[in-house]
């Protein structure tokens, strides 16, 4: 299975196709104009599917940048 980083990039690219793959690791709510609530919901749903996670509502706060999400997913994976 590809590493977490690559799988997460794939999720991001699905939701933000205009963001180039090499730009994804720097993507955040602040610098991605299309990152709105719909994008957030879609992104979280994809991440839940991809990593077989159930992300509680309180944890949505972490879902505001690739970096934060990566850290979050790694922690949830126990890595």
């Amino acid at each position: 299975m590809p590493p977490t980083h690559d799988r997460l990039v794939k999720c991001f690219r699905s939701v933000f196709p205009v963001v180039a793959a090499d730009e994804v690791p720097r993507a955040s709510l602040a610098n991605t104009p299309t990152w709105d609530s719909l994008a957030s919901v879609n992104l979280i749903a994809l991440i839940e599917d991809e990593f077989a996670l159930d992300i509680p509502l309180d944890d949505y706060e972490h879902m505001n940048s690739f970096e934060n999400i990566y850290v979050y997913v790694k922690q949830r994976e126990g890595g």
């Binding site: 709510l29 602040a30 299309t34 990152w35 709105d36 609530s37 719909l38 994008a39 957030s40 919901v41 879609n42 749903a45 509680p56 509502l57 309180d58 944890d59 949505y60 706060e61 972490h62 879902m63 979050y72 922690q75 949830r76």
Partner: protein
């Protein structure tokens, strides 16, 4: 990993009024016209803890962050009878988020909808104009199911309808066809045939129809008798109906329909009549079959009564949205034609789960009057030829909106593009 979110979702109280005003002001400063919809007339219902036995009431759900409100939605609580058993459910109206003007609050609406769905699992958003709308896509991503509520129209004055309907005027071939049929006299011929068809299907015996001020115990009898014919329907007894269609609201005509021989109530139908603001119907006098109830075998008589009433009052076209097969068939029987519907229902997963997987929206009895589908018919509309008078007094008729593309599509920051309907008091 879990930490406390900065957002908290709760019911609004009277103490939130200043916060709501600040929220509206920030939206306004960001160039948005949407507002949290509330009015002084609604305060008691909106903010105070209601009597649980109330047939209908409003609550305002808000997402707060610190001392500020970042998102809000109006919940229109009613009772749904699911195979005869009552359950509380809510229409979601006018969701709005500060994410519209500041993306760092884009999660406020997510919290709002998810927490509201957790607290009130049976949620329906009715009247959404397009499944491509941000609101439809947003709740779709949260697992909500969508369905269109069939639309029907009855052209009373064929020639006038052909020349005034914007739907035809925007399509060159249809426009040319409409002009040709008007000039050639074909429209008159079609109109005559259509009227003959309506007369041919006049119920026998002709029912007694009375325009009543309100709903009495007779409506309870109708409700109890007919409930078994509807797998899923909103509460339509006298208490609910007098709250939904209050006698001091001049938009509605409440028609009680009885068998002339036995005096037995066949049911009732509510109609509205108005020249509608907006482009869809030009300057046509538009009638609507807003709501109705009765045993399904009596539905054709109810539809007939509504059409007769509206024709007699000068309607040039009559429109309706029905989901239940009895009302669809009853409308067709009396000459209603199917039209393109852009009147969608969005249902939370639990609400959608009320319907067996193989069934469709026909399990529900949904009418134009459900939720806020009659907002387009403004107070004052019953004055023949008169222009509707906008009102904000009831919080339900804030702004004129288009007939079946109503912007409940509000939401989702970019996404929560809120309701154009949502003007506050």
């Amino acid at each position: 990993m879990s930490s406390k979110s900065r957002f908290r979702v709760r019911l609004a109280t009277n103490t939130d009024i200043e916060r709501i005003k600040r929220f509206d002001a920030r939206l306004s400063a960001g160039g948005r016209t949407e507002r949290v919809s509330y009015s002084r007339a609604l305060l008691a219902e909106t903010f105070d803890e209601p009597d649980p036995d109330l047939p209908v009431f409003f609550r305002l759900m808000v997402t707060e962050e610190g001392d500020e409100i970042r998102a809000a939605a109006l919940l229109f609580h009613q009772q749904l009878f699911v195979r005869g058993k009552p359950r509380r459910f809510s229409y979601v109206q006018m969701p709005i988020s500060e994410g519209l003007v500041e993306r760092s609050y884009s999660l406020a609406i997510v919290h709002l909808v998810k927490e509201t769905t957790r607290r009130y699992p049976l949620l329906i958003s009715l009247g959404v104009g397009s499944l491509d709308s941000s609101w439809a896509r947003f709740v779709g991503a949260l697992g909500w199911k969508s369905a269109s509520v069939p639309f029907f129209f009855y052209p009373v004055r064929f020639s006038r309808v052909l020349s005034a309907l914007e739907y035809l005027n925007q399509r060159p071939w249809l426009r040319r066809g409409a002009r040709l049929s008007t000039r050639s006299g074909a429209a008159c011929l079609l109109g005559g045939l259509h009227r003959a068809y309506f007369r041919l299907h006049r119920p026998s015996p002709t029912p007694d129809v009375a325009d009543v001020e309100n709903f009495g115990p007779w409506a309870d009898t109708v409700f109890r008798a007919a409930l078994r014919d509807y797998p899923i329907t909103g509460r339509r007894d006298s208490a609910a109906l007098n709250a939904l269609y209050p006698k001091d609201d001049p938009r509605f005509s409440r028609l009680r329909v009885r068998c002339p021989k036995t005096g037995r109530d066949l049911g009732w139908i509510i109609v509205c009549l108005s020249r509608l603001p907006g482009k869809y119907f030009g300057d046509l006098m538009v009638g609507a079959l807003a709501d109705g109830f009765g045993e399904t075998e009596n539905v054709p008589a109810l539809v007939w009564a509504g059409v007769q009433n509206l024709i007699g009052r000068g309607a040039e076209i009559i429109v309706s949205n029905w989901s239940h097969p009895a009302w669809i068939n009853g409308s067709r029987r009396h000459g209603f034609l199917p039209g393109p519907s852009n009147y969608f229902s969005l249902m939370s997963p639990e609400a959608a789960g009320l319907v067996p997987p193989t069934a469709d929206i026909g399990q529900f009895h949904i009418a134009r009057g459900d939720s806020d589908g009659l907002n387009i018919f403004q107070a004052g509309a019953r004055r023949p030829g008169g222009q509707p008078t906008p009102t904000t007094s009831d919080g339900l008729a804030d702004q004129p909106r288009l007939p079946h593309s109503r912007p409940q599509d509000l939401h989702t920051d970019h996404a929560v593009r809120a309701a154009s309907q949502g003007s506050s008091d």
